[in-house]
């Protein structure tokens, strides 16, 4: 840990979804760009309020699924092409594809699942066992029943005092400056 702690952001607490949505919209209207909301459950509509883009996760899953599909088909073809096992009169390439389909399907799903969980971890920067937020007293209720609005110090409009006052003014409780 560095000896000189620098400011990481300002955090304020709200105690219901309606208030935090309103606050997030006001902060956005004020011109803040790097805002985040921490809540015990997803609040639908808030991502639009603070301008978070849709996640690219489906594309990662699709990629995983596609690779699984192609690999499984080619693998079965590759293992039988030099030494065909002609069983129940089903040799050849196209002739066998109906029977290969099941494994192709299973492998598609499997790699899609790995890609989805992997993509989820990468996009969230997981595992990450340290966050300055945990220094805040009472932040443990972010996974229980409280809602936190964070304005990052990286925001171009960030000013420790002004931002703090602004958050207090829009109804935030326990407004705290977090250092890292």
């Amino acid at each position: 840990m560095s000896t000189t702690e620098k400011v990481w952001g300002v955090v304020s607490r709200f105690d219901n979804p309606t208030d935090i949505l309103a606050a997030a919209e006001k902060a956005r209207a004020q011109g803040y760009k790097k805002i985040d909301v921490h809540s015990p459950f997803p609040i639908h509509g808030i991502e639009k309020a603070i301008g978070v883009k849709a996640t690219p996760l489906p594309w990662i899953s699709l990629l995983g699924g596609t690779i699984g599909c192609l690999v499984a088909w080619y693998f079965q073809y590759w293992t039988t092409k030099d030494y065909p096992m002609i069983i129940s009169g089903k040799p050849g390439l196209l002739d066998s594809t109906p029977a290969w389909f099941v494994i192709v399907f299973c492998f598609t799903i499997l790699l899609c699942a790995f890609a989805t969980l992997g993509g989820f971890m990468v996009l969230n920067d997981f595992p990450k066992f340290y966050s300055p937020l945990h220094k805040i007293k009472g932040f443990e209720r972010a996974t229980d029943d409280q809602f936190f609005l964070v304005v990052s110090a990286a925001d171009p409009q960030f000013d420790q005092r002004k931002t703090r006052d602004f958050l207090a003014q829009i109804g935030g409780q326990d407004v705290t400056v977090v250092t890292d």
Partner: protein
């Protein structure tokens, strides 16, 4: 493009009464097309089979609509309330089906369809000449008809068919009446009617499931009557669900294009209808693949005969279209959320899906022409008369839809769950 959301305007809920006149006109056109097909088609057996394709299409549209409505009511769904009346309109195909059944019986009685009926099959084999082992084949067909006579005989076939039709008509009529009643009832009355339809649906769904299964056995599977498949009924159920989802997407798009139902069905509802289409199209692929792989894998001659006949003489083309066009094309086009929310894409895919359902029925029914004489269906080909009769019956079905909803509310404005259904969003 995703169409923008606008609030529901109840003033645009009512269909004009002019639909009645339009429906009469369309009915005349539809009947004319079918009659025209009869006059230009010299081969009456081929006409009968094409007629059966159209008949099954109308049956699947009607039963699909009925099943859709009952499932939504039983599960107390909110999302489907604003488009459910359209499905109720399509249920009217079931009333039409009763009329359409009469020509089917007449065609069957003349020996154009079912080989088991009064031993038509054995006679056909004897008359065909120049086929190898004709006597043994005729004896086999005769033997099988006798063996299956406990189920496949004229009087019980008629009685069962009548039972299916009556059951469907009663269910559809009861649901339509109660649903129209919610439009004019007060809050309590609307709730009571909605609860009634929900309660009726609980026994209605198993009843419809069973009757649809046996209808597909009796009307389609018995064309090639020595063949059997336990999953045959489920395949037709899946197709009926694909049909109704497609018809709902198209009907809503056309009706909203006329400035009616403003805002009632927005992009979220269309997204859900597209999911329904996608889900049941995949289910259709699952059950069709199950039937194919098990028969193909075990290679038992009694069962592979069906695929042999339906792949012979170029008819396999339709099977390939069913696989690639019915499953893969729709699957990949509708996989993405953006595609399901795209108005243009969903309408286009729906038209394609209806076409594919027709191709699938055509593939199941047409190659059995002249059964059990081998290769009696002749090389694969589509004739103008086939298209005319199928189009004619589809037009009649559309006419019944317009007639039923003419002057009625196109949105169930009194439904207690309408407001909830108008509000939701897909996350």
């Amino acid at each position: 493009m995703e169409s923008p959301k606008i609030p529901f305007d109840p003033a645009t809920a009512k269909a004009p009464t002019s639909w009645k006149g339009l429906s009469v006109l369309l009915a005349l056109v539809g009947a004319g097309l079918a009659a025209g097909a009869w006059f230009i088609q010299k081969d009456h057996s081929r006409f009968a089979h094409a007629y059966l394709v159209g008949f099954m299409l109308v049956a699947l549209i009607g039963t699909g609509a009925l099943m859709f409505v009952m499932l939504q009511q039983l599960s107390r769904a909110g999302w489907s309330v604003s488009s459910r009346r359209i499905a109720e309109g399509w249920m009217s195909s079931l009333f039409l089906l009763v009329l359409l059944f009469i020509p089917l019986v007449l065609l069957a009685k003349q020996g154009h369809l079912y080989a088991w009926l009064t031993d038509f099959g054995a006679a056909a084999v004897k008359n065909a000449g120049n086929i190898p082992d004709a006597d043994r084949l005729a004896a086999h067909v005769h033997h099988m008809s006798e063996k299956k006579a406990f189920w496949l005989n004229e009087s019980s076939w008629l009685a069962r068919s009548a039972f299916y039709l009556v059951a469907w008509v009663i269910l559809a009529a009861l649901i339509l009446r109660r649903s129209f009643a919610t439009d004019v009832a007060d809050k309590e009355g609307a709730a009571a009617n909605t609860t009634f339809i929900g309660k009726l649906s609980a026994p209605g769904i198993p009843l419809l499931g069973l009757t649809l299964t046996f209808a597909s056995f009796d009307w389609v599977m018995s064309l090639q009557f020595d063949w059997y498949s336990t999953i045959f009924g489920v395949i037709h159920f899946a197709d009926s669900m694909v049909l109704i989802a497609s018809l709902l997407i198209i009907s809503v798009a056309c009706i909203q294009g006329k400035g009616l139902m403003k805002g009632a069905v927005n992009v979220e509802h269309k997204h859900d209808l597209a999911k329904w289409l996608f889900a049941f199209n995949t289910f259709f692929a699952f059950v069709s693949y199950a039937q194919f792989i098990i028969i193909w894998f075990a290679d038992i001659p009694e069962e592979t005969v069906w695929y042999h006949r339906h792949a012979a003489d170029g008819w396999s083309l339709l099977g390939w279209i069913s696989l690639f066009g019915h499953f893969f094309v729709i699957f990949f086009l509708l996989m993405s959320r953006h595609m399901k929310r795209n108005h243009f894409v969903t309408v286009l895919v729906s038209i394609w899906a209806i076409l594919m359902a027709i191709v699938h029925l055509y593939w199941e029914i047409m190659p059995t022409m002249g059964y059990p004489v081998p290769h009696a269906a002749g090389p694969f080909g589509v004739q103008l008369a086939d298209i005319l009769v199928i189009a004619g019956l589809l037009t009649l079905s559309f006419a019944a839809f317009l007639f039923t909803l003419s002057g009625r509310n196109l949105v169930a404005v009194g439904d207690p769950r309408l407001q909830e259904g108008l509000k939701f969003e897909n996350y």
